[in-house]
Every structure is written in C-alpha cells, then in structure tokens.
Symmetry: C2
Amino acid sequence: MAQKELKEFIDNASQIYLSHLSLDCVVFGFHDGQLKVLLLKMKNSDRWSLPGGFIKQAESMETAAIRVLNERTGLDSIFLQQFHVFSDPGRSDNKEKNAHLRRAGIAVPAGHWFMQRFLSVGFYALVDFSTVTPQPDAFSDDCAWWDIGETGQLILDHSRILFKALEVLRLQLHYQPIGYNLLPPKFTMPELQKLYETILGRKLDRRNFHRKILSYEILRPLKEKRQGVAHKAPQLYSFDTIKYQKALKEGLGGI
Amino acid sequence: MAQKELKEFIDNASQIYLSHLSLDCVVFGFHDGQLKVLLLKMKNSDRWSLPGGFIKQAESMETAAIRVLNERTGLDSIFLQQFHVFSDPGRSDNKEKNAHLRRAGIAVPAGHWFMQRFLSVGFYALVDFSTVTPQPDAFSDDCAWWDIGETGQLILDHSRILFKALEVLRLQLHYQPIGYNLLPPKFTMPELQKLYETILGRKLDRRNFHRKILSYEILRPLKEKRQGVAHKAPQLYSFDTIKYQKALKEGLGGI
DNA sequence: CCAAAAGTGTTGTTTTTACACCCATGA
DNA sequence: TCATGGGTGTAAAAACAACACTTTTGG
C-alpha cells in the first residue's frame, strides 16, 4: 500500500526544494539524569532517523531548519545551530532509499530528484525536555526521545551526525554556558551538575562545581527550595537571561 | 571582448557541478608581523574575492575545497577546515553577477545555472606564507596576500565570510595550538608570540608567553640560533609534530 | 660601551583541587 | 535517629600575572 503523503511529497519536491541539499537536526534534551535525542521512526521501516528535510528555493538554512523541525516533530521556535556539513559522496545511499520506497510501494524513475546525491547540513538544538511534546508527521509513525548511546543504528549516516553533534556539544561546554535550554526554568544545583556530568561523561566534585558555576554569575537563586524530596531541600535557581546571553557571546573565561 | 575561459566555464558548469552550492576559501598567512589573507582579483573587475568555486557531482566538500584552491591559486595539498554555511537568500546577488558578465561581454539566459541562488560553504586554512607562491587562474588577473583589515569591500558577502573565519580562528586559539601552518619550519619565540598577538589583537607578556608555550611541550628547541639579526641572537624552535597533532585532537588545557 | 632585544628568576595573587564538616529531611 | 543528599569552609597545590635582572649582539 502506497503512502499518499510520501508520494505527493516526492512528486512535487523538485519544484519546491533546492537540489542536492538537505538538513538534519540533532535535538538534545535532558531527563532522569540522561541526555536524550529526539528521533523519528519512518513508516514502513523499523529504523529511526534524525528529523531532517529540505531547503526551499528562497530560504536560508537557518529558517529551513526551524521549519523542518516544526513540520516533522511539532517543536516550535527552537534555536538551532549549524555545526557541520556532511558531504561524503557515499552518505546518501540509494540502496537504502530504494528499499524504503519499495516497502512503501512507491516507484520513482531513475534520475529523479529524490534519487540525487544529497549533502546535509547538521544543526543541533538544546531543548527543555519537559515543555516539549513531540508529534510525528505524516511520514513517521513515531517521534520519541532516545537515550544517547541506546539509539542503535540509525538510517544513512545519521549515527555519525549524532556523534559529531555530541562532540561539538562537549567542546562548547568548556567556553559557553549550557543549561538554559536543557533544564526547566527552575532547577537545583545538583540537577545542573548532573547535566554537565552527563554531557562530559565524567563525575565532577559537587562543592567545586557549585562554586565554579556561581562564579560565572549567570544564576539567580530563588527564594524557594524544591519541596517534597527526600533529604535536605535543595535551593532552586533560574538563569539570569541577560547575563546568560552575554556569556554566550563573550565566552565564560572572559578570555 | 569576451573571455573565452569564463564563457566556456559557464556553459559547461551545469553538467559538471552541483547546483546551488559553492565554496569559498579563507587562506590565512603570516608575514612581517601581519596576518594576511589570500585574495583574487577577477578580470574585468576592480574588486577582490576569496578563492571560491563549485562542487563536482560526486565529490566531497573537503575534496572540492582542496581542488578549487589549487585550481584558482596554485596552492597545493592545503588542509582546509569547513567553518560555516552561508545561506542568506540575498547573498548571491544577481545584480553584481550580471554587471560582471556585462563587463566581460558574456550573455547568459535568464534561469541559467550561473544565475541560480548559491549557498556557500566556508573553509579556512593556515599556510606558511614563505613557502607559497600564489598564481592567479584564467579568470583572475591577480592573486595576492592582503593585510587583514585592509582588504576593502570584497565581492558579494566575502567580507562577511572573512570576518567569520577570523572569529573562528580567534576562538580556536584558546584551546588548540596554532602556528604549525603559519610559520616557517624554524622560528623564534618572539615570532610565535607576534603571531598570537596579531590574531588576538592584543599584547602578551613576553616572559609569561615563553613559559606558557613551553609548558604545552609542542616545541623542540633547535641547536641553532637565528643569525645576522641585531641584538641577542634568539633561539630557534620547530614544532614537535607528534605532540602538536596530539594537542590538536585533545585540546591544550587537557580539559 | 650602549641601546635594544632575548633569556631566566622571583614573588604575590588567583584559581583549582581535594578534602572535612554541618544541616535538613523522610523514612 | 539515622542514612542520605545538600550546603559551606579551608588548606595545599597549581596556574597566572607582574615584575627585575642578566645576557648577547650590532653599531
């Protein structure tokens, strides 16, 4: 059985989108002390993919990325950052594409737009897990958060794209503040620390972390503490958005 | 008078190159205490441009960048690093392109490959000024080093591309060693310091810089000193390539 | 012998690291 | 009341910054 939407999309794509170019989004979230990534499961396939799409004829990459992410997952006005162009001639494997079209019962002529070689621009975003409700689009039958490292083999070179995004994220951590988009508006110091530890993949000293983060002066202590938890109630913080933005621009060390 | 080469190139381009995509190279060199950038002056134009070009149908971006830089400037086997995709819909201005074609006496039909909107992938490289002899290609009548900041207005958005490359270079300086490709094989500590000062745009303390760099253990003191200079003969160094490469991968702080 | 640039040393300050201790809370 | 996690202090070590002094060279 053919998928009406996919057929229609493929038939019209060459009129609407640039050729040879696509984009893929690596959306990171954080929950339960785990770094997550948002993935789509395509219909007629048992493999998962990064939410990706194509660029309209007169659209900037950045605009396209925001639009694509919204169309494919329902996420709204997310700040996406480009991080790498993936251009290996073998990356957009026609065998894999053909197999998928066959399962969907769609035939496309050889030399069709969809069968081109594609280069993909990778974008990444950090989002607050708790405020987001992913919705799969018409091409997918699931949209879900996966633990980093438990995604298994993604389609095409998407595993590589994910890995590269993670590498860039780790590097950024050393000279830019992180957390504003990954944590809820109010959070505790141990929660922020857990986030850092998860991204870096190693333990940090609780007390030194506390001092260090405070020295950046990007946090505002709130007048409340987290209630209903076992043990001592931890102080709640929120980010000082003004200073946070400043630190994003100028770096943390004030180098 | 038409330029045979340009006409031929434009006529055949759509058969050979991907559509909508180009690349531009920002090649940095260092000479006389000045950071330089390699520019081309197009024939029939008084404005300068970054060496740029197009991507063949089955070529990776990285391969294309090396090829383009070689074809356009004669530079050989240069390591180029992608740093940003420039995709503003207005960046590839048809007014400017048309004016140039008119001056060259070339007519291209509306809707021609060359009149497409182009996205450009920016690459940058650091090269040893002294070992390089730039040669303009058939489309250009000059290929020369310019002081950063004295380039004037470049074509299209090339000034912006150059600025962005410089921004990335400055950022890199804080966590990666630099100099191997910008200095001759043998150099003195003050020369290396001058390079850092030029890129950073500020003075550094001579003695602290000395100690700091040595602590990275990426330099090998040679048994010779620079001869024939006024005042005390400075010690010559070369990079320890093994350790340099290691530092490139792992970062300097050992973060 | 002197001016100018190169090399080395010292010292006080700041930052980082590795801890020990106290506090609050639910079970 | 006790185990557990949260908050604060402190001292040693390392890194950094600011400087003074010595050495070498060409003129």
